[in-house]
Symmetry: C2
Subunit: 378 residues, 2 copies
């Protein structure tokens, strides 16, 4: 029954894409960062977060972002030699100063600390300041899930979204990811930007030559911007357009809810952590450290009820949703995280599809920094 969903992969045009084994890809990207001077264990985490995004089908956050981190390191806008410091540690909470190091390793450490604290107190909240872009938020929530905990990950991010009733890019797409363990995989993983779509989706549409529907972005006069994705992307990058918050323009369909949620996530991740917020969050490659802020929570299910009872109750809920009457235009009713999981299962077997531009860029980076591995295609 499950197997039919494993083969979720849509065919990719062979003239544009190659496929690469995920283990090789991870080793290759690890090697790139190691050659740049990143400590081995940190390079492995960065590569794992990137390749996991590709396995999940979120190619916008996958190895295509290698260039961005490489440039951040080369320009020394990221400090790969620093060590994170725990600067507040009280009961169930902590603040870690990432000291402008890479966002991924400190985030794994922060979630591990959150799990340890949740084991002692039932729930925890660990904040991180002075960090950098950490990739997909869901990666860290899944670290909690692997240990049987509910994991919550939030982060602020570079300003791309128009807060409701404003017209400029003043808040981030500030995502929240919540992972919940189940008896059998896939675990539940809700991972969502608080904008209608992340900018990565517009990048992908742009690469595919697709049209943006009305309702995702506005231009700097406040008019809904749609159509040619490359044009929309160019306008956003030039700060002549902004993404819309979840719920869309104005308040009619709840845009103030997406906008408000983004603001709240920034208050916890940015204001309370001691990091930057809103327009002050920097880009990985820039003239100042990004000073991104993250938040990690863990909840110990077994403090509330036996894990078996929780699994039974959750499975019943899922079965009830799955057996509901389906909309005629939908292929299937999805539980958060399922699509990504089944895509991962498929891609682990048949390889990760990389756009040739991305593949060639990786090869060039590899040559540039002296990677010895060959990135063979399947």
């Amino acid at each position: 029954m499950i197997h039919e969903f494993y083969e979720r992969e849509k065919p990719v045009p062979p003239e544009d894409y190659v496929r690469v084994d995920h283990v090789l890809l991870k080793n290759y990207v690890t090697s790139i960062f190691e050659k740049l001077g990143v400590r081995r264990w940190e390079a492995e985490i960065v590569a794992d977060v990137l390749v996991t995004a590709d396995l999940f089908g979120i190619s916008s956050h996958g190895v295509q972002r290698t260039r961005r981190y490489v440039d951040g390191i080369k320009t020394e806008n990221i400090d790969i030699y620093s060590e994170p410091k725990i600067i507040v540690d009280r009961g169930a909470i902590a603040i870690i100063d990432a000291c402008n190091g890479l966002g991924q390793p400190v985030s794994v450490k922060a979630m591990e600390l959150a799990i340890e604290k949740a084991r002692n107190y039932g729930v925890s909240l660990v904040l991180v300041r002075n960090s950098n872009h950490f990739g997909i938020a869901g990666y860290y929530s899944l670290k909690a899930v692997e240990k049987g905990y509910i994991g919550v990950t939030m982060t602020n991010s570079v300003n791309l979204v128009a807060y409701t009733h404003t017209i400029d890019r003043i808040i981030g797409t500030n995502p929240i990811a919540i992972g919940v363990p189940k008896r059998e995989p896939p675990p539940i993983l809700f991972d969502a930007a608080t904008s209608v779509v992340p900018v990565g989706k517009i990048e992908i549409y742009s690469k595919q030559g697709k049209e943006i529907p009305p309702g995702w972005a506005i231009d700097s006069n406040g008019n809904v911007l749609y159509g040619n994705a490359s044009y929309v992307l160019k306008m956003i990058k030039a700060k002549k357009a902004a993404l819309l918050p979840l719920g869309g323009l104005g308040e009619k369909h709840g845009g103030h809810k997406g906008s408000g949620l983004s603001f709240i996530i920034d208050i916890v991740s940015g204001v309370l952590s001691g990091a930057a917020w809103g327009v002050h969050v920097g880009y990985t490659v820039g003239e100042k450290p990004s000073n991104v802020g993250h938040a990690f929570m863990a909840i110990d299910i077994s403090a509330f009820m036996s894990i078996e009872e929780f699994y039974n109750r959750l499975q019943q809920y899922i079965d009830e949703i799955k057996s509901a009457r389906k909309h005629s235009k939908a292929d299937r009713i999805w539980i958060p995280g399922e699509k990504a999981w089944y895509t991962m299962m498929t891609r682990k077997k048949i390889g990760i599809p990389l756009h040739k531009n991305v593949y060639n860029e990786l090869i060039n980076i590899g040559i540039d920094v002296g990677v010895e591995l060959e990135l063979k295609t399947l």
Copy 2:
């Protein structure tokens, strides 16, 4: 500068509405519940939650709901004689069994416990099972804010929403309310149903003879339902229509995000607390106890940084949002909770507008249960 926003009240047609002093209204509603046998302190809390909703301009959740609770008590579907029990109490977490009592008093107690735990551990999570409808979620988050804490309140609720790609009412409007203290009022209060709109908004539109725009509801064939609000409301009540999650129908504008968030809120409030979930959550007046589940979190700001530093940083962020370029169609850029707060300031001065139907219903309930106070109009 602030005063101009105090007078937010739109004029109400005097042939349809009366105005009542909020203190008198609270005393009157308290008396109704006391006459029904509810303990004085609990009756006061129920009345305060209802009247606060009216003060905030959320009349859908205001004293117009008195009838619903009265009927729940009279039919003994709510047990006003029970006492809540703390059944799990470990470190920073707890579960309270409301024993089918009123939702409001146990929720105040639960948030107080969450605050006490956050004082000791920095963060906390208190869940409530076997509860009833608790009114506006924001009320409890503000209890944390009054003490200088960030407060988070979530609840599940009766099934009114179509989970993405389903067409029936299978999940609740499951709101989340997050309150954040500021140096000067109003505090930040984000309080949002995870549906595009709460059903109360459709009730209000129905009373006002207004039209529902496309995008709020679907009929039981999965078609977008709009137009005459009374008809839409009738269809929802007859289970021939459902509200749409925040983000709307399908996934194009992020409906799976609203739907997923609602599901996650139910997992914490309902599944993990030991309460009902999804279609099992009962209505206040029904054939079985509602078994609503709630979740309350408190975060001790002073565990992370000095409260003064937090206030300074937050105020700067707010000032930056407020000074952004405004959309030409918007009257003003709002911070979550401001509208409600300014409406409250106005209504405390000039009284709460009650639709005559609501006013007459209260009078009739008062006569019925033997309230001695006179509900004088202004």
